[in-house]
Protein backbone atom coordinates (compact mmCIF):
# COMPACT_ATOMS: atom_id res chain seq x y z
CA UNK A 1 0.00 0.00 0.00
CA UNK A 2 1.71 3.16 -1.19
CA UNK A 3 1.40 6.47 0.69
CA UNK A 4 2.17 10.00 -0.41
CA UNK A 5 4.11 12.67 1.43
CA UNK A 6 0.94 14.82 1.53
CA UNK A 7 -0.93 12.02 3.31
CA UNK A 8 1.90 11.60 5.80
CA UNK A 9 1.99 15.37 6.42
CA UNK A 10 -1.76 15.35 7.14
CA UNK A 11 -1.14 12.70 9.80
CA UNK A 12 1.81 14.68 11.21
CA UNK A 13 -0.37 17.80 11.50
CA UNK A 14 -2.96 15.80 13.43
CA UNK A 15 -0.23 14.40 15.68
CA UNK A 16 -1.04 10.89 14.48
CA UNK A 17 2.04 10.00 12.46
CA UNK A 18 3.79 6.77 13.41
CA UNK A 19 7.50 7.56 13.67
CA UNK A 20 10.52 5.43 14.55
CA UNK A 21 14.23 6.12 14.50
CA UNK A 22 16.39 4.17 12.03
CA UNK A 23 17.61 2.14 15.01
CA UNK A 24 14.15 1.35 16.40
CA UNK A 25 12.74 0.40 13.00
CA UNK A 26 15.08 -2.61 12.83
CA UNK A 27 13.21 -4.42 15.61
CA UNK A 28 9.83 -3.24 14.36
CA UNK A 29 10.49 -4.86 10.98
CA UNK A 30 11.86 -7.99 12.65
CA UNK A 31 8.75 -8.48 14.76
CA UNK A 32 6.04 -7.34 12.35
CA UNK A 33 7.53 -8.08 8.96
CA UNK A 34 8.24 -5.48 6.32
CA UNK A 35 4.81 -5.54 4.68
CA UNK A 36 2.83 -4.86 7.86
CA UNK A 37 5.39 -2.36 9.13
CA UNK A 38 5.34 -0.46 5.82
CA UNK A 39 1.58 -0.05 6.14
CA UNK A 40 1.77 1.16 9.75
CA UNK A 41 4.91 3.33 9.83
CA UNK A 42 4.88 6.81 8.31
CA UNK A 43 8.35 8.18 8.96
CA UNK A 44 11.79 6.83 9.91
CA UNK A 45 14.25 9.39 11.26
CA UNK A 46 18.00 9.17 10.73
CA UNK A 47 20.89 11.02 12.32
CA UNK A 48 24.60 11.62 12.23
CA UNK A 49 27.09 13.81 14.12
CA UNK A 50 30.60 13.81 12.73
CA UNK A 51 33.38 16.01 11.39
CA UNK A 52 32.51 17.33 7.94
CA UNK A 53 35.32 19.44 6.46
CA UNK A 54 33.41 20.93 3.53
CA UNK A 55 31.22 22.92 5.90
CA UNK A 56 31.17 26.68 6.00
CA UNK A 57 29.03 29.71 6.54
CA UNK A 58 28.34 33.03 4.89
CA UNK A 59 27.35 36.25 6.55
CA UNK A 60 26.08 39.68 5.68
CA UNK A 61 27.58 41.72 8.49
CA UNK A 62 25.81 45.01 7.70
CA UNK A 63 27.34 48.30 6.49
CA UNK A 64 29.63 50.45 8.58
CA UNK A 65 29.33 54.23 8.53
CA UNK A 66 31.10 55.43 6.46
CA UNK A 67 30.79 52.37 4.26
CA UNK A 68 33.61 49.86 3.82
CA UNK A 69 34.03 47.61 0.80
CA UNK A 70 35.09 44.34 2.39
CA UNK A 71 34.63 42.80 -1.05
CA UNK A 72 38.09 42.42 -2.57
CA UNK A 73 39.74 43.46 0.67
CA UNK A 74 41.08 41.31 3.48
CA UNK A 75 39.00 40.32 6.48
CA UNK A 76 39.66 38.12 9.48
CA UNK A 77 37.22 36.96 12.14
CA UNK A 78 39.08 36.02 15.35
CA UNK A 79 42.21 35.99 13.16
CA UNK A 80 40.66 33.43 10.78
CA UNK A 81 40.91 34.67 7.17
CA UNK A 82 37.51 34.77 5.47
CA UNK A 83 36.69 34.96 1.79
CA UNK A 84 35.67 38.42 0.60
CA UNK A 85 35.25 38.06 -3.16
CA UNK A 86 31.58 39.07 -3.13
CA UNK A 87 29.66 42.34 -2.72
CA UNK A 88 30.62 44.89 -0.07
CA UNK A 89 29.67 43.12 3.17
CA UNK A 90 29.04 39.48 2.22
CA UNK A 91 31.77 37.22 3.59
CA UNK A 92 32.30 33.46 3.65
CA UNK A 93 34.28 31.29 6.02
CA UNK A 94 35.15 27.61 5.70
CA UNK A 95 35.51 25.11 8.51
CA UNK A 96 39.16 24.29 7.78
CA UNK A 97 40.42 27.90 7.65
CA UNK A 98 43.21 28.62 10.12
CA UNK A 99 44.99 31.81 11.17
CA UNK A 100 47.94 32.84 9.00
CA UNK A 101 51.17 31.84 10.73
CA UNK A 102 49.66 30.50 13.94
CA UNK A 103 52.86 29.72 15.89
CA UNK A 104 51.09 26.89 17.71
CA UNK A 105 50.86 24.96 14.45
CA UNK A 106 54.49 25.40 13.41
CA UNK A 107 55.93 22.46 15.30
CA UNK A 108 54.80 19.09 14.01
CA UNK A 109 52.29 17.81 14.90
CA UNK A 110 50.50 21.07 15.46
CA UNK A 111 47.45 21.03 17.72
CA UNK A 112 45.40 23.32 15.43
CA UNK A 113 43.55 24.71 18.43
CA UNK A 114 41.48 27.30 16.57
CA UNK A 115 40.06 27.59 13.07
CA UNK A 116 36.96 28.15 10.98
CA UNK A 117 35.06 25.34 12.69
CA UNK A 118 35.65 26.87 16.12
CA UNK A 119 34.74 30.31 14.78
CA UNK A 120 31.38 29.02 13.54
CA UNK A 121 30.83 27.30 16.91
CA UNK A 122 31.66 30.53 18.78
CA UNK A 123 29.30 32.59 16.63
CA UNK A 124 26.48 30.10 17.09
CA UNK A 125 27.14 30.16 20.84
CA UNK A 126 26.44 33.92 20.73
CA UNK A 127 30.02 34.96 21.46
CA UNK A 128 31.54 38.25 20.34
CA UNK A 129 33.97 37.77 17.48
CA UNK A 130 36.66 40.23 16.39
CA UNK A 131 36.32 41.46 12.81
CA UNK A 132 39.42 43.11 11.35
CA UNK A 133 39.13 44.45 7.81
CA UNK A 134 41.40 46.29 5.42
CA UNK A 135 39.79 47.64 2.28
CA UNK A 136 41.12 49.62 -0.69
CA UNK A 137 38.54 52.41 -0.46
CA UNK A 138 36.35 53.71 -3.26
CA UNK A 139 34.25 56.79 -3.81
CA UNK A 140 31.15 54.92 -2.67
CA UNK A 141 32.94 52.87 0.04
CA UNK A 142 35.56 55.28 1.37
CA UNK A 143 36.55 53.60 4.62
CA UNK A 144 39.76 51.55 4.52
CA UNK A 145 40.06 50.19 8.01
CA UNK A 146 37.51 48.52 10.27
CA UNK A 147 38.15 46.81 13.62
CA UNK A 148 35.00 45.84 15.45
CA UNK A 149 33.35 43.19 17.58
CA UNK A 150 30.48 41.41 15.86
CA UNK A 151 28.03 38.74 16.92
CA UNK A 152 25.60 36.49 15.16
CA UNK A 153 22.35 38.12 16.22
CA UNK A 154 23.48 41.52 14.87
CA UNK A 155 24.20 40.18 11.40
CA UNK A 156 21.60 40.46 8.66
CA UNK A 157 21.99 36.94 7.37
CA UNK A 158 24.06 34.10 8.75
CA UNK A 159 23.76 30.89 6.77
CA UNK A 160 25.45 27.55 7.22
CA UNK A 161 26.34 26.29 3.76
CA UNK A 162 28.03 22.91 3.53
CA UNK A 163 28.97 21.80 0.04
CA UNK A 164 29.62 18.21 1.11
CA UNK A 165 28.11 16.56 4.19
CA UNK A 166 26.52 13.31 5.18
CA UNK A 167 28.86 11.00 3.27
CA UNK A 168 27.14 7.75 2.42
CA UNK A 169 29.65 5.35 3.98
CA UNK A 170 33.37 5.99 4.43
CA UNK A 171 36.79 4.37 4.63
CA UNK A 172 38.21 2.62 7.68
CA UNK A 173 41.67 4.11 8.17
CA UNK A 174 44.81 2.25 9.25
CA UNK A 175 48.55 2.91 9.07
CA UNK A 176 50.77 0.22 7.54
CA UNK A 177 53.97 2.22 7.93
CA UNK A 178 56.35 2.15 10.88
CA UNK A 179 55.85 5.77 11.92
CA UNK A 180 52.88 7.52 13.52
CA UNK A 181 50.73 9.51 11.09
CA UNK A 182 48.35 12.39 11.71
CA UNK A 183 45.32 12.36 9.43
CA UNK A 184 41.78 13.64 9.11
CA UNK A 185 40.86 10.15 10.31
CA UNK A 186 42.71 10.86 13.55
CA UNK A 187 46.07 9.72 14.86
CA UNK A 188 47.00 6.41 13.27
CA UNK A 189 49.62 4.40 15.10
CA UNK A 190 52.26 2.45 13.16
CA UNK A 191 51.96 -1.15 12.03
CA UNK A 192 48.16 -1.12 12.16
CA UNK A 193 47.89 -0.59 15.90
CA UNK A 194 44.50 1.13 15.57
CA UNK A 195 41.75 1.65 13.02
CA UNK A 196 39.33 4.57 12.77
CA UNK A 197 35.97 4.81 11.02
CA UNK A 198 33.52 7.61 10.43
CA UNK A 199 29.87 6.80 9.82
CA UNK A 200 26.76 6.41 11.94
CA UNK A 201 26.13 3.14 10.06
CA UNK A 202 22.55 2.00 10.51
CA UNK A 203 21.50 5.49 11.67
CA UNK A 204 23.24 7.41 8.87
CA UNK A 205 20.85 9.28 6.54
CA UNK A 206 22.04 8.13 3.12
CA UNK A 207 22.64 4.55 4.26
CA UNK A 208 18.92 4.39 5.05
CA UNK A 209 17.93 5.67 1.61
CA UNK A 210 20.73 4.09 -0.38
CA UNK A 211 19.25 4.78 -3.83
CA UNK A 212 18.12 8.35 -2.99
CA UNK A 213 14.44 7.54 -3.44
CA UNK A 214 13.21 10.14 -0.95
CA UNK A 215 16.20 12.36 -0.08
CA UNK A 216 16.61 14.92 -2.86
CA UNK A 217 16.93 18.60 -3.67
CA UNK A 218 14.69 20.52 -1.27
CA UNK A 219 14.40 17.88 1.46
CA UNK A 220 13.81 19.57 4.82
CA UNK A 221 16.26 18.31 7.45
CA UNK A 222 17.54 18.75 11.00
CA UNK A 223 20.75 20.75 10.57
CA UNK A 224 23.00 21.84 13.41
CA UNK A 225 20.09 21.95 15.83
CA UNK A 226 17.87 24.01 13.53
CA UNK A 227 16.01 23.42 10.30
CA UNK A 228 17.89 23.20 7.04
CA UNK A 229 17.53 21.87 3.54
CA UNK A 230 19.29 19.59 1.12
CA UNK A 231 20.13 22.01 -1.69
CA UNK A 232 21.81 19.64 -4.11
CA UNK A 233 24.03 16.60 -4.32
CA UNK A 234 27.22 17.23 -2.40
CA UNK A 235 30.59 17.54 -4.04
CA UNK A 236 32.28 14.20 -4.86
CA UNK A 237 28.83 12.54 -5.11
CA UNK A 238 29.66 9.14 -6.57
CA UNK A 239 26.64 6.85 -6.82
CA UNK A 240 28.17 4.22 -9.15
CA UNK A 241 30.31 2.35 -6.62
CA UNK A 242 29.97 -1.38 -5.84
CA UNK A 243 26.93 -2.05 -3.70
CA UNK A 244 25.51 -4.90 -1.61
CA UNK A 245 22.44 -6.87 -2.71
CA UNK A 246 20.34 -4.39 -0.72
CA UNK A 247 21.79 -1.49 -2.70
CA UNK A 248 24.01 -0.20 0.13
CA UNK A 249 27.33 1.19 -1.14
CA UNK A 250 30.38 -0.76 0.03
CA UNK A 251 32.45 2.45 0.22
CA UNK A 252 32.03 6.23 0.16
CA UNK A 253 29.33 7.08 -2.40
CA UNK A 254 26.59 9.73 -2.23
CA UNK A 255 26.97 13.11 -0.52
CA UNK A 256 24.70 16.05 0.26
CA UNK A 257 25.02 19.81 -0.04
CA UNK A 258 22.99 21.34 2.79
CA UNK A 259 22.18 24.78 4.08
CA UNK A 260 20.21 26.43 6.85
CA UNK A 261 19.77 29.53 8.98
CA UNK A 262 22.71 29.60 11.39
CA UNK A 263 20.77 31.79 13.82
CA UNK A 264 18.46 28.87 14.64
CA UNK A 265 21.30 26.46 15.29
CA UNK A 266 23.11 25.50 18.48
CA UNK A 267 26.70 24.89 19.49
CA UNK A 268 25.69 21.45 20.72
CA UNK A 269 25.29 20.41 17.09
CA UNK A 270 28.04 22.50 15.47
CA UNK A 271 31.36 21.81 17.14
CA UNK A 272 34.77 22.98 16.04
CA UNK A 273 37.20 20.06 15.96
CA UNK A 274 41.01 20.05 16.11
CA UNK A 275 42.73 17.11 14.48
CA UNK A 276 46.29 16.96 15.77
CA UNK A 277 48.79 17.31 12.93
CA UNK A 278 46.02 17.72 10.36
CA UNK A 279 43.88 20.77 10.95
CA UNK A 280 40.52 22.12 11.89
CA UNK A 281 37.06 20.96 10.89
CA UNK A 282 33.46 21.21 12.04
CA UNK A 283 31.36 18.42 13.53
CA UNK A 284 27.84 18.82 12.18
CA UNK A 285 24.62 17.23 13.39
CA UNK A 286 22.32 16.22 10.55
CA UNK A 287 19.05 14.31 10.73
CA UNK A 288 16.88 13.43 7.77
CA UNK A 289 13.34 12.08 7.96
CA UNK A 290 12.50 9.34 5.49
CA UNK A 291 8.84 9.09 4.48
CA UNK A 292 7.75 5.45 4.25
CA UNK A 293 6.00 5.62 0.90
CA UNK A 294 6.25 1.90 0.14
CA UNK A 295 7.68 -1.38 1.35
CA UNK A 296 10.99 -1.02 -0.48
CA UNK A 297 11.74 2.31 1.21
CA UNK A 298 10.93 0.73 4.57
CA UNK A 299 13.17 -2.28 3.92
CA UNK A 300 16.04 0.10 3.19
CA UNK A 301 15.54 1.90 6.52
CA UNK A 302 15.71 -1.43 8.37
CA UNK A 303 19.36 -1.87 7.34
CA UNK A 304 21.57 -2.97 10.25
CA UNK A 305 25.23 -2.40 11.09
CA UNK A 306 25.84 -6.04 10.19
CA UNK A 307 24.56 -5.37 6.63
CA UNK A 308 26.79 -2.35 5.97
CA UNK A 309 30.40 -2.90 4.95
CA UNK A 310 33.32 -0.49 4.64
CA UNK A 311 36.79 -0.78 3.11
CA UNK A 312 39.95 -0.78 5.21
CA UNK A 313 42.39 1.67 3.62
CA UNK A 314 46.05 2.37 4.39
CA UNK A 315 46.55 6.08 5.05
CA UNK A 316 50.36 5.97 5.08
CA UNK A 317 50.87 5.05 1.42
CA UNK A 318 47.70 4.11 -0.47
CA UNK A 319 45.51 7.10 0.39
CA UNK A 320 48.06 9.91 -0.08
CA UNK A 321 49.24 8.44 -3.37
CA UNK A 322 45.80 7.59 -4.74
CA UNK A 323 46.61 3.88 -4.93
CA UNK A 324 43.28 2.09 -5.29
CA UNK A 325 42.44 -1.04 -3.37
CA UNK A 326 41.39 -2.19 0.04
CA UNK A 327 43.04 -4.20 2.81
CA UNK A 328 39.71 -5.87 3.45
CA UNK A 329 36.06 -5.34 4.08
CA UNK A 330 34.52 -5.07 7.56
CA UNK A 331 30.99 -4.46 8.80
CA UNK A 332 29.91 -1.63 11.07
CA UNK A 333 28.82 -4.25 13.59
CA UNK A 334 32.46 -5.41 13.73
CA UNK A 335 33.76 -1.83 13.87
CA UNK A 336 31.43 -1.00 16.74
CA UNK A 337 32.40 -4.15 18.65
CA UNK A 338 35.75 -2.49 19.44
CA UNK A 339 38.06 -4.50 17.22
CA UNK A 340 38.42 -5.79 13.68
CA UNK A 341 40.79 -8.17 11.94
CA UNK A 342 43.22 -6.63 9.47
CA UNK A 343 45.60 -9.03 7.69
CA UNK A 344 44.77 -11.58 10.38
CA UNK A 345 45.69 -9.24 13.23
CA UNK A 346 43.22 -7.98 15.85
CA UNK A 347 43.12 -4.18 15.73
CA UNK A 348 41.24 -1.89 18.15
CA UNK A 349 38.76 0.46 16.49
CA UNK A 350 37.66 3.99 17.25
CA UNK A 351 34.84 6.03 15.78
CA UNK A 352 35.09 9.65 14.71
CA UNK A 353 31.35 9.83 14.12
CA UNK A 354 29.44 9.84 17.41
CA UNK A 355 26.88 7.05 17.37
CA UNK A 356 25.43 8.18 20.71
CA UNK A 357 24.86 11.69 19.31
CA UNK A 358 23.53 10.29 16.01
CA UNK A 359 20.88 8.46 18.01
CA UNK A 360 20.09 11.70 19.85
CA UNK A 361 19.62 13.58 16.53
CA UNK A 362 17.32 10.84 15.23
CA UNK A 363 15.22 10.93 18.40
CA UNK A 364 15.02 14.75 18.50
CA UNK A 365 13.80 14.66 14.90
CA UNK A 366 11.38 11.87 15.76
CA UNK A 367 9.98 14.04 18.55
CA UNK A 368 9.59 17.04 16.23
CA UNK A 369 7.74 14.96 13.61
CA UNK A 370 5.51 13.32 16.23
CA UNK A 371 4.62 16.66 17.79
CA UNK A 372 3.67 18.11 14.41
CA UNK A 373 6.37 20.78 14.36
CA UNK A 374 8.40 19.24 11.54
CA UNK A 375 6.65 18.55 8.23
CA UNK A 376 8.20 16.53 5.45
CA UNK A 377 8.96 18.10 2.10
CA UNK A 378 8.73 16.69 -1.36
CA UNK A 379 12.04 16.66 -3.23
CA UNK A 380 12.08 19.19 -6.07
CA UNK A 381 14.55 17.07 -8.02
CA UNK A 382 16.17 13.72 -7.29
CA UNK A 383 19.86 13.25 -6.53
CA UNK A 384 21.78 11.49 -9.32
CA UNK A 385 21.57 7.77 -8.61
CA UNK A 386 23.06 4.55 -9.96
CA UNK A 387 23.55 4.75 -13.72
CA UNK A 388 23.25 8.56 -13.87
CA UNK A 389 26.79 8.86 -15.15
CA UNK A 390 27.73 11.23 -12.30
CA UNK A 391 31.25 10.28 -11.24
CA UNK A 392 33.89 11.40 -8.78
CA UNK A 393 36.98 11.86 -10.93
CA UNK A 394 40.59 12.62 -10.08
CA UNK A 395 42.28 15.80 -11.29
CA UNK A 396 43.86 15.45 -14.72
CA UNK A 397 47.02 17.44 -14.23
CA UNK A 398 48.13 19.44 -17.27
CA UNK A 399 51.43 20.99 -16.29
CA UNK A 400 51.96 24.63 -17.10
CA UNK A 401 55.16 25.54 -19.02
CA UNK A 402 55.88 29.19 -19.79
CA UNK A 403 52.21 29.98 -19.27
CA UNK A 404 51.20 28.03 -22.38
CA UNK A 405 48.94 25.04 -22.84
CA UNK A 406 50.69 21.86 -23.83
CA UNK A 407 48.69 19.01 -25.33
CA UNK A 408 48.77 15.86 -23.20
CA UNK A 409 49.05 12.69 -25.28
Amino acid sequence: MAKTIQEINEKIKKGKAVVYTAEEIIDVVKSKGAKKAAAEVDVVTTGTFAPMCSSGAYFNVGHSNPRTKLGGGTVTLNDIPVYTGFAAVDILVGATAIPDDDPRNKIRPGPFPYGGGHLIEDLVAGKDVKLVARAYGTDCYPRRKLDTWVKLEDMNEAVLFNMRNGYQNYNVAVNLSDRIIYTYMGILHPKVRNATYCSAGQLSPLLNDPLYRTIGVGTRIFLGGGVGYVVDRGTQHNPDVPRTDQGVPRMGAGTLAVMGDLKQMSERWLRGASFTGYGVTLAVGIGIPIPILDEEILRHTAVTDADIVAQVVDYSEAYPNCIPGSLGEVTYAQLKSGSIKVNGKKVPTAGLSSYARAREVASILKGSVESGSFLLSEAVAPLPSVGSGVKFRPLQERPVFNNTRVAVD
Binding site: F49, A50, P51, P109, P111, P113, G186, I187, H189, N194, A195, T196, R271, A273, S274, F275, T276, G277, T281, A283, K336, S337, G338, P348, T349, A350, G351, L352, S353, S354, Y355, A356, R357, R359
Partner: protein, 135 residues
Protein backbone atom coordinates in the same frame (compact mmCIF):
# COMPACT_ATOMS: atom_id res chain seq x y z
CA UNK B 1 47.34 -5.19 49.89
CA UNK B 2 46.25 -1.60 49.14
CA UNK B 3 47.41 0.02 45.91
CA UNK B 4 47.49 3.74 45.21
CA UNK B 5 48.12 5.75 42.06
CA UNK B 6 49.89 8.93 43.08
CA UNK B 7 51.88 11.80 41.69
CA UNK B 8 55.02 12.73 43.62
CA UNK B 9 56.01 16.33 43.04
CA UNK B 10 59.67 16.84 43.85
CA UNK B 11 60.88 20.29 44.86
CA UNK B 12 64.10 21.19 43.00
CA UNK B 13 66.39 20.51 45.99
CA UNK B 14 65.18 16.90 46.30
CA UNK B 15 65.77 15.85 42.73
CA UNK B 16 69.11 14.22 43.54
CA UNK B 17 67.71 12.15 46.42
CA UNK B 18 66.95 8.44 45.89
CA UNK B 19 63.49 8.70 47.40
CA UNK B 20 62.03 5.79 45.44
CA UNK B 21 64.92 3.56 46.54
CA UNK B 22 64.18 4.35 50.17
CA UNK B 23 60.47 3.66 49.71
CA UNK B 24 61.34 0.24 48.30
CA UNK B 25 64.11 -0.81 50.66
CA UNK B 26 63.17 0.81 53.97
CA UNK B 27 59.39 0.84 53.69
CA UNK B 28 59.01 -2.41 51.74
CA UNK B 29 56.75 -0.82 49.14
CA UNK B 30 56.24 -2.02 45.59
CA UNK B 31 56.75 1.01 43.33
CA UNK B 32 55.80 0.92 39.66
CA UNK B 33 56.89 4.13 37.91
CA UNK B 34 54.33 5.06 35.24
CA UNK B 35 55.80 8.40 34.21
CA UNK B 36 58.65 10.57 35.25
CA UNK B 37 59.70 14.09 34.41
CA UNK B 38 62.86 15.66 35.74
CA UNK B 39 63.92 19.12 34.69
CA UNK B 40 66.97 20.84 36.19
CA UNK B 41 66.11 23.50 38.78
CA UNK B 42 62.37 22.89 38.42
CA UNK B 43 59.79 20.75 40.18
CA UNK B 44 60.13 17.12 39.12
CA UNK B 45 57.23 14.80 38.79
CA UNK B 46 56.84 11.08 39.24
CA UNK B 47 53.62 9.20 38.55
CA UNK B 48 53.66 5.93 40.48
CA UNK B 49 51.53 2.99 41.32
CA UNK B 50 52.49 2.08 44.82
CA UNK B 51 51.41 -0.90 46.93
CA UNK B 52 52.25 -2.41 50.28
CA UNK B 53 50.63 -3.17 53.62
CA UNK B 54 48.60 -0.30 54.98
CA UNK B 55 51.16 0.27 57.74
CA UNK B 56 54.09 0.39 55.33
CA UNK B 57 52.18 2.62 52.92
CA UNK B 58 51.27 5.11 55.61
CA UNK B 59 54.81 5.17 56.96
CA UNK B 60 56.35 5.47 53.50
CA UNK B 61 54.09 8.29 52.42
CA UNK B 62 54.68 10.08 55.72
CA UNK B 63 58.43 9.76 55.16
CA UNK B 64 58.13 11.23 51.66
CA UNK B 65 55.86 14.04 52.79
CA UNK B 66 58.20 14.98 55.64
CA UNK B 67 61.05 15.02 53.16
CA UNK B 68 59.19 17.77 51.27
CA UNK B 69 57.41 15.91 48.45
CA UNK B 70 53.99 17.12 47.45
CA UNK B 71 51.90 13.97 47.01
CA UNK B 72 48.56 13.98 45.25
CA UNK B 73 46.24 11.26 44.02
CA UNK B 74 46.69 10.84 40.25
CA UNK B 75 42.97 11.14 39.55
CA UNK B 76 43.08 14.86 40.28
CA UNK B 77 45.39 15.51 37.36
CA UNK B 78 43.46 13.95 34.52
CA UNK B 79 40.15 15.53 33.73
CA UNK B 80 37.42 14.30 31.43
CA UNK B 81 35.34 17.30 30.48
CA UNK B 82 32.05 15.57 29.73
CA UNK B 83 30.55 18.78 28.32
CA UNK B 84 33.21 18.92 25.63
CA UNK B 85 32.99 15.21 24.85
CA UNK B 86 30.79 14.28 21.89
CA UNK B 87 31.19 10.55 22.57
CA UNK B 88 32.83 9.82 19.23
CA UNK B 89 35.23 7.27 20.80
CA UNK B 90 38.36 8.58 19.00
CA UNK B 91 40.27 8.28 22.30
CA UNK B 92 39.24 4.75 23.11
CA UNK B 93 41.52 2.83 20.78
CA UNK B 94 44.64 4.69 21.98
CA UNK B 95 43.93 4.30 25.72
CA UNK B 96 46.28 1.53 26.93
CA UNK B 97 44.44 0.68 30.15
CA UNK B 98 40.79 0.88 29.18
CA UNK B 99 40.24 3.92 31.40
CA UNK B 100 38.42 5.44 28.44
CA UNK B 101 35.89 2.94 27.22
CA UNK B 102 32.69 2.58 25.24
CA UNK B 103 29.64 0.82 26.52
CA UNK B 104 29.14 -1.16 23.34
CA UNK B 105 25.40 -1.30 22.93
CA UNK B 106 24.48 2.33 23.46
CA UNK B 107 27.96 3.53 22.41
CA UNK B 108 28.31 5.91 25.36
CA UNK B 109 31.88 6.88 26.24
CA UNK B 110 33.03 6.96 29.86
CA UNK B 111 36.21 7.64 31.80
CA UNK B 112 37.35 5.62 34.81
CA UNK B 113 39.85 7.63 36.88
CA UNK B 114 41.06 4.56 38.73
CA UNK B 115 42.35 2.92 35.56
CA UNK B 116 44.08 6.04 34.19
CA UNK B 117 47.88 6.07 34.25
CA UNK B 118 48.16 9.64 32.89
CA UNK B 119 49.99 8.52 29.75
CA UNK B 120 48.42 11.48 27.88
CA UNK B 121 47.83 9.54 24.65
CA UNK B 122 44.17 10.58 24.70
CA UNK B 123 44.98 14.29 24.76
CA UNK B 124 46.12 14.75 21.15
CA UNK B 125 43.64 12.08 20.01
CA UNK B 126 40.61 14.08 21.17
CA UNK B 127 39.48 16.68 18.60
CA UNK B 128 37.26 18.45 21.16
CA UNK B 129 39.68 19.11 24.03
CA UNK B 130 37.62 16.89 26.28
CA UNK B 131 40.70 15.38 27.96
CA UNK B 132 42.82 17.70 30.03
CA UNK B 133 45.81 17.11 32.19
CA UNK B 134 47.14 19.55 34.73
CA UNK B 135 50.86 18.80 34.46
Amino acid sequence: MPTKRLTFNFPPHLIDQPVTYQLITEHKLKVNILRARITPREWGRLVVEISGTKKNLDAGLQFATELGLDIKPLAQDVLWNADNCIECSACVSVCPTGALSVERKEMHVSFDHDKCIACELCIPACPYEAMQISF
